[in-house]
């Protein structure tokens, strides 16, 4: 069983790397880019017999994969 977890910075949290990418793109001539924010995602391979995978994954997000002070997460089962 596979799952994907997306972790994004909450609105209002500073994203220096996103800003740098945006600056880089605009200096390369991509004037149409008006904003960039960077997130990360996890491709997780789960044991097929895993119980309550969604609940467990959300727990992993709260505990480790996301820092809920600044990040929000979304779990997708494939």
């Amino acid at each position: 069983m596979r799952a994907r977890v997306y972790v994004t910075l909450k609105p209002g949290v500073h994203d220096p790397a996103g800003k740098a990418v945006q600056g880089g793109l605009s200096s390369m001539g991509y004037a149409e880019v008006q904003g960039v924010r960077i997130g990360k995602f996890f491709e997780i391979e789960l044991d097929d017999a895993a119980l309550e995978p969604r609940a467990r994954l959300e727990e992993m997000c709260r505990k480790l994969l996301a820092n809920t002070v600044i990040e929000s997460y979304r779990v997708e089962l494939l």
């Binding site: 790397a17 740098a20 990418v21 880089g24 200096s27």
Partner: protein, 730 residues
């Protein structure tokens, strides 16, 4: 059917493995049969330039490699020099040029990782790193990205390992446009009676694999480094290895922990050509055979086959040989550090290197066939046509060029680079980057090690013998400026295609120049590395024999610095010089950098100068010492001033006097009250009064520049060019 044993070897397959038809015939002869595909792969890496040194070996033998302090010279993973009182320094420099050009961040990172493994394999805890970098022109489209990626990769790996990067050098030249150089140096400290070697001991000893699992990284990496770049080299890209400094940090600590005990008979890192070359080298040194059960190798990916396992260059792995009965100690330590550990084979008595896969034999080759029988070439040499003479330069106002020379990419401030390196971790860095040489203390002793890495490729290009000898002198001079006496040298010979007689000539002459200077100055070469085929589409790099020198200073930590402060007298030590401009930064700014000849070296005068400098530092009678090299006298004075303090100095206002790069000179500054003690310490070395520090202008021969302008020219150039957003890639 066992994968890799049934394929018929065709000419095409031989060629894809980078072996010439002659070399394949040699394989048939020494093996006495046709190799299978696995064995062919093994030959291709073992007989590659990178592993076999087939073009360079006969020349390296001319280097002086012994001395009263040398405990281990070239031939092991790194050389070892005795420091006294039970301490020894273990060091080596190595290139990672081709991988860094293809993937700058990972290429440079894994270069740093590799050189650290070479050092801690010997039982030494790494205490210092250096890096020597070469890039193309600033306005070449690839240069900026290469600088960012390579510096980022070195920082990423070295910082995570907790080993300070204390010195380095960075130069730019059009010849590196398509072939950057990344040379990494590491030094560790080891107890002189606890040095570990890559050997096998007795028949029946067990072979352990420890560290990270094996994936499909960098297969053919060793062959790649031995082939000229050109059209189509992009196809080799998937061979890039990704470094994992975290795993290596664990591997370092686990290895050093196991080394506290007596379980280890031999230990060898897996570097270029991975499991193959590490196991063959161990068997070779031990004079034994080896049996490897490849199916027991920890794997990171599924479906891997013997060919891949043998040729993978996955990082952060080691082979360990132990006596039977000590297995549990190995398991305990590596499991404590959450690392893979597996028993994969044993030492045999038949001198054959043998691999099996689930019980079936997939390779069986005599160890000597892979090592001693490797081809050795005495490739033809030819001196190139003489370089054009340096024309007389008519410059009505050479002083006015100071700002542009300070902003020259080879001269200007490289803080942007070394601020990304943790240069303090370990809390022993006495003299940090930005000085002539770094100085690192050894806690609990009065010993300090000086570190410098240097190469002036313009000088070497103009005359490989004299240019290389001059670099040896300059390295020793840099060490003397922090009070250290040279104890050993590691070199990294970066040259073009050795199949071209002019390149082979450059290489041989450079080796001879290094050998002469090392003999004259009494410095053994204890380790090194050769990187050939550094060219793109037929254009070779400047010959670049990177030299990393280590020096020893014993005594209370010195307070020497490279900057002036107010109220000091300044003198120039050494012969005044001839105003030698061949190969100088000044000549390059005039578009004449491939003209003339480099400055000659006077070993006797040089040695006397170094003795005097060391004594001045040890006696604590000088505040500042800085040697004269790139940019000559005026640049040296400017560098001592920067934004700290100005000064008024005497000098003739002609280009040779201001910017000549004659060897054998240094400036020192001292409190006027110490003059007598300073002069007494010179022991006959000639000197000349230059002037005194103070004020906020740099005044020379009646001309002047505000020190703010000196700082702006020197300090702003490099960072300004790199300006803009940081890299999006981490």
């Amino acid at each position: 059917m066992t994968p890799g044993t049934e394929t018929t070897i065709t000419d095409e397959i031989v060629q894809q493995h980078g072996l010439s038809p002659d070399e394949y015939q040699r394989i048939l002869k020494v093996l006495g049969r046709e190799p299978n595909l696995v064995e062919l792969g093994v030959f291709s890496v073992m007989w590659s330039e990178h592993c076999s040194y087939k073009s360079s070996r006969i020349h390296l033998g001319r280097l002086p490699t012994t001395g009263p302090r040398v405990l281990i010279g070239p031939g092991e993973n790194a050389g070892v020099v005795d420091l006294g009182h039970g301490y020894a320094a273990c060091f080596k420099m190595e290139s990672h040029n081709h991988p860094s050009y293809i993937e700058p961040y990972q290429g440079a990172a894994t270069g740093v990782g590799g050189i650290m493994r070479d050092v801690f394999t010997m039982g030494a805890r790494p205490i210092a790193l250096m890096d020597s970098l070469r890039f193309g022109r600033l306005d070449h489209p690839k240069t900026r990205g290469l600088v960012r990626g390579i510096v980022g990769g070195i920082a990423g790996y070295g910082n995570c390992m907790g080993v300070p990067t204390v010195a380095g050098e960075t130069r730019f030249d059009r010849s590196y446009d398509g072939n950057c150089l990344v040379n990494a140096f590491c030094c560790g400290i080891v107890a002189s009676d606890r040095i570990f070697l890559g050997t096998t001991g007795n028949v029946g000893n067990k072979v352990f694999y420890v560290g990270a699992g094996t994936g499909r990284d960098g297969i053919h990496g060793a062959t790649m480094a031995s082939t000229e770049f050109g059209e189509g080299s992009d196809e080799k890209r998937p061979t890039v290895q990704v470094g994992d400094p975290f795993q290596e940090k664990l591997l370092l600590e686990a290895c050093l922990e196991l080394m506290q005990g007596t379980a280890i008979i031999g230990i060898q890192d897996m570097g270029a050509a991975g499991l193959t070359s590490s196991s063959v080298e161990m068997a070779g040194r031990g004079g034994r055979g080896l049996l490897l059960r490849l199916d027991q190798v920890p794997m990171r990916e599924t479906g891997m086959v013997p060919y891949e396992l043998l040729l993978s260059e996955s990082q952060e792995r080691m082979l360990i040989v132990i006596e039977p009965g000590r297995e549990q100690e190995v398991f305990d330590v590596f499991r404590k550090w959450d690392l893979s550990v597996a028993e994969i084979g044993e030492v045999t008595g038949d001198g054959v290197w043998r691999c099996t896969w689930h019980g079936d034999e997939v390779a069986a080759i005599g160890v000597a066939v892979l090592t001693d029988a490797a081809p050795k070439y005495d490739r033809p040499q030819a001196a190139p046509a003489p370089h054009p003479a340096l024309p007389e330069i008519f410059d009505t106002d050479p002083f006015a060029r100071l700002a542009s020379i300070l902003a020259d990419p080879d001269i200007s401030d490289k803080q942007w680079i070394w601020r990304q390196y943790d240069h303090q971790v370990g809390t022993d860095t006495v003299v940090a980057p930005g000085a002539d040489a770094a100085l690192v203390r050894i806690k609990g002793t009065q010993k300090h090690l000086g570190f410098v890495v240097d190469c002036n490729g313009r000088h070497v290009y103009l005359d490989p013998f004299v240019g290389t000898a001059g670099q040896v002198a300059e390295c020793a001079r840099n060490l003397a400026c922090v009070g250290a006496t040279p104890i050993g040298l590691s070199d990294c010979m970066n040259f073009g295609n050795p199949q071209k007689p002019e390149i082979m000539w450059q290489f041989a002459r450079s080796v001879d120049g290094m050998a002469e200077a090392c003999r004259a100055l009494d410095i053994p070469v204890i380790s090194g590395n050769v990187s050939l085929y550094n060219e793109t589409d037929g254009v070779g790099i400047l010959p670049t024999p990177g030299l990393a020198m280590v020096g020893l200073y014993e005594g209370p930590t010195p307070t020497i610095r490279g900057r002036f402060r107010s109220g000091l007298d300044v003198i120039l030590l050494g012969a005044p010089g001839h105003g030698w401009l061949g190969g100088s930064v000044y000549a390059r700014q005039m578009g004449l950098d491939r003209h003339g000849s480099p400055p000659p070296v006077d070993y006797t005068a040089e040695a006397a100068l170094h003795r005097a400098l060391r004594r001045l530092v040890a006696e604590g009678v000088i505040v500042t010492a800085h040697d004269l090299s790139d940019g000559g006298l005026l640049v040296a004075l400017a560098e001592c001033c920067l934004d700290v303090v100005g000064g008024r100095f005497d000098a003739e206002l002609n280009a040779g006097a201001l910017y000549g790069e004659d060897h054998g000179r240094a400036i020192v500054a001292f409190e006027p009250g110490n003059r007598d003690r300073v002069l007494a310490a010179l022991m006959g070395v000639p000197y000349r009064d230059l002037g005194a520090t103070g004020g906020d202008v740099l005044a020379v021969g009646g001309r002047e520049l505000p020190i703010a302008a000196v700082q702006a020219a020197w300090g702003g150039a490099f960072e300004g060019w790199l300006g803009g957003a940081g890299s999006a890639r981490a």
